[in-house]
């Protein structure tokens, strides 16, 4: 019965010249593309950073810890250290254990060992880059140990310890990339973090490169993996943190700029600067520095030894 009805319906449709058949609507394919990370942008108005005109790396000579600030920290029983948790290999949170760790974190623990006799007596405060100097100035934190480059403008606002790590700005590229140095960057896309001196240095050494500015260093690795940039340029210490996460990328080229790292201290707390420098002397001398380097930064290749401190008094 139903079959007959269907046949009638079909016959009717055929007689009507199939006019009631709705043609299928074809939707054209939309472009499949991975977005740039949030807040990332191609920037064009970066002025190349001038070469540093002064030398701010000379610090105060170390002395046995014992000034008023050190006494106050000892009374408190905790050393308050500002850092972040997204600078791989220097200060980062291990996703599996949830612990904060890295080269800077271990250095902070070593300073606590000398000041308070216990590596565990450190309270970390998580700071964004622009919060570092204000946090030192209003004494929210005692120290900033956060891959911080000693620069002349910063040295006018805060005091720095002696140099504890010599980084240099280099390039991170895929292993099969033809880029081997700054001269190969012409017309390429180079990633760096918004507002950093690294970005300004790339603008100076490779003025024809397209600059991709992202909010975080890990975003640069995302951009490189998604082929939205041809190279990443910043301190080799930070590039090393990316290189260990992806065996298909490598650090290349000579140094574009020296980046001496120092520990930031409030400008009026001279005794704390001297105590920190004493602690740095100790870890340089007793081999702690070399073992920390091997533990975290072996990917950067062997170094002859820790950087030599310079003192101005």
């Amino acid at each position: 019965m139903r079959t007959i009805a269907t046949m009638f319906a079909l016959a009717a449709a055929l007689l009507a010249g199939c006019s009631n058949v709705q043609p299928l609507t074809e939707v054209s394919a939309s472009l499949t593309m991975r977005p740039l990370p949030s807040g990332a942008a191609v920037v064009s108005d970066v002025t190349g950073a001038p070469v540093e005109s002064c030398d701010a790396t000379a610090s105060l000579r170390p002395s046995v810890p014992g000034g008023p600030v050190v006494e106050e920290i000892r009374r408190r029983g905790r050393l308050i250290v500002g850092t972040d948790q997204n600078t791989n290999l220097f200060s980062f949170r291990d996703p599996v254990s949830g612990e904060l760790q890295g080269f800077d974190v271990d250095v902070a623990h070593e300073i606590a060992r000398d000041l308070l006799g216990d590596t565990g007596k450190v309270d970390f405060r998580l700071l964004r880059p622009e919060e570092r100097i204000p946090a030192l100035q209003d004494e929210t934190v005692d120290l900033v140990v956060q891959a911080m480059t000693i620069s002349c403008p910063r040295a006018e606002q805060i005091a720095f310890s002696a140099v504890y790590f010599e980084a240099s700005q280099r390039l991170l590229v895929p292993r099969d990339s033809p880029i081997r140095g700054q001269s190969d960057l012409a017309g390429k896309r180079v990633c760096s973090v918004i507002g950093t001196t690294s970005l300004a240095t790339v603008a100076r050494v490779a003025p024809t490169a397209t600059l991709v500015a992202v909010p975080n260093w890990d975003d640069c690795l995302v951009v490189l993996q998604q082929r939205q940039a041809d190279a990443v340029s910043t301190d080799d210490s930070i590039l090393a943190g990316m290189a260990v996460q992806d065996p298909n990328v490598t650090i290349v080229g000579p140094s574009l700029e020296a980046e001496p790292y120092g520990i930031g201290v409030n400008k009026s707390r001279d005794d704390l600067v001297r105590a920190v420098n004493a602690s740095l002397e100790r870890i340089r001398r007793d081999g702690t520095w070399m073992s920390l380097y091997r533990k975290w930064l072996a990917v950067l290749g062997p170094v002859p030894g820790p950087p030599e401190p310079k003192y101005r008094d």
């Binding site: 709705q22 977005p35 980062f92």
Partner: protein, 435 residues
């Protein structure tokens, strides 16, 4: 010839002297029309035509309205609901994916299940919506196309983020953050556009639900004609009331009353559907999406603490918008949950300010009924219940509007036909008397 006759007819019918004029037998039609039985016959035809027309036009317009309500009930509204489900499922997928990262390398089973279920709901919503939109609705088709394309990219990025996170690589959070940005800045706005356009279609269908005044006027006009005819007949016959015409008048009055009453009921039902259903539903959907995104921001802000300013700010913005919505449109239990959540969020900020990151993460993650997870779930449940309730109200209103019109379509035809028969039955015996 004939047209000349017809055009002259009105002047003749008005001329009373012609009624008694025995001459002019060479023009029988004109003569007949001019005679009392002729006028009665014309009257009968006009009346039958008027009542039939009133019945049939009422019936067709009502049937058309009823079909539109049926389309609204069975197609337009479910399509809007599918769009709403896509919107909600996508944003809860993002919240679940982000929550998974709070617990370290391996996400908890229930969070993973929630993500999988949300992706499943979004996909089924996409298929339902794609099969429902009109083939010429190019804009909706393009939105659906973008949505399914980007959903594939999104799930790929989440998979990359999870694989890196499991391997203990911090870049996992960067992928998570990029995927979340894709969701919040590209996918959710498309889903919202789709939802708004479908919800607008529901709203405009609801606005055009009542029978038009012209239909009611037609039945009132027929009733008026019947009353005039009654007066005419009373003058020319010796009976005071013609039962056929009386019955027809009553039927037309019933039709007019039924049309008005059904119209009022149906319009009130659709107004309820819109004011108590559709409009608060739209607000509740917006509120729920804001809550979901704020939760994702809270967690991302924690994961990227020390390097990200955006998530914290956008949490505050979204919560402010959410509170504003809830002020204007209170939802039971939601305001309390928002307050509790804000207290928990302040606790997280306080703990972060004193360097207690593990404590802050625990407040964001653990099962304490005063903490973020429980408060967010309370809020989300309250808003989801509100969405279900408002949708039920809206559907109920549409069904009531449909029911109000349901019997009217065949009823109006029947009334018209019976009234026509009554007119014929009433005038026929009077006409016979002249032979």
């Amino acid at each position: 010839m004939r047209s000349g006759e017809l055009s002259r007819r009105p002047t003749h019918t008005l001329d009373e002297s012609l009624l008694t004029d025995p001459e002019g037998s060479d023009r029988p039609l004109v003569e007949f029309l001019a005679s009392t039985p002729g006028r009665m016959a014309v009257l009968a035809i006009v009346l039958v035509a008027a009542v039939l027309a009133a019945g049939v036009t009422a019936s067709t317009t009502i049937a058309d309205r009823r079909d539109r309500l049926e389309t609204l009930r069975s197609h337009t509204e479910p399509l809007a609901d599918a769009a709403q489900r896509i919107y909600g499922a996508l944003s809860s997928a993002n919240t679940a994916a982000t929550t998974g990262f709070l617990s370290g390398g391996i996400e908890p089973q229930d969070v993973g299940d929630r993500y999988d279920a949300a992706i499943g709901q979004a996909s089924s919503g996409l298929v339902t919506a794609s099969s429902g939109v009109a083939p010429n609705d190019v804009r909706s088709l393009r939105l659906l196309n973008d949505l399914s394309n980007r959903l594939a990219v999104y799930t790929g990025m989440i998979a990359t983020a999870r694989a890196n996170n499991r391997a203990g690589r911090p870049i996992g959070v960067a992928y998570l953050s990029a995927a979340s940005a894709l969701m919040q800045q590209a996918i959710l706005p498309s889903a919202e556009q789709l939802y708004r356009s479908q919800a607008d279609a529901v709203g405009s269908s609801e606005r055009s639900a009542g029978p038009s005044r012209a239909v009611i006027a037609a039945s009132v006009f027929a009733l008026g004609l019947l009353v005039l005819a009654q007066a005419f007949l009373t003058r020319h016959s010796h009976r005071r009331l013609n039962p056929g015409l009386v019955l027809a008048s009553v039927l037309m009055a019933v039709l007019a009353a039924w049309l008005s009453a059904a119209g009022v009921l149906s319009v009130r039902a659709t107004t309820d559907a819109r004011n108590q259903g559709g409009e608060p539903l739209g607000t509740a959907v917006t509120a729920r999406i804001l809550a979901e995104q704020a939760r994702a921001d809270e967690i991302l802000g924690l994961l990227k603490r020390g390097s990200d300013t955006q998530s914290d700010k956008s949490f505050d913005v979204r919560i402010a918008q959410l509170s504003q919505l809830l002020d204007r449109h209170p939802v039971g239990g939601a305001v309390g949950a928002v307050d509790g959540w804000l207290r928990s969020h302040d606790e997280i900020r306080r703990r972060l300010a004193t360097g207690d990151y593990p404590g802050a993460a625990a407040v964001a993650r653990d099962d304490d009924p005063q903490h973020s997870t429980a408060q967010f779930i309370r809020l989300d449940t309250a808003l989801r219940d509100e969405i279900t309730r408002r949708r039920d109200t809206e559907r109920d209103g549409i069904v009531r509007a449909y029911t109000a019109l349901n019997l009217l379509a065949p009823g109006a035809t029947a009334l018209g036909v019976v009234a026509g028969l009554a007119v014929t039955a009433g005038i026929w015996p009077r006409l016979i008397e002249y032979h």
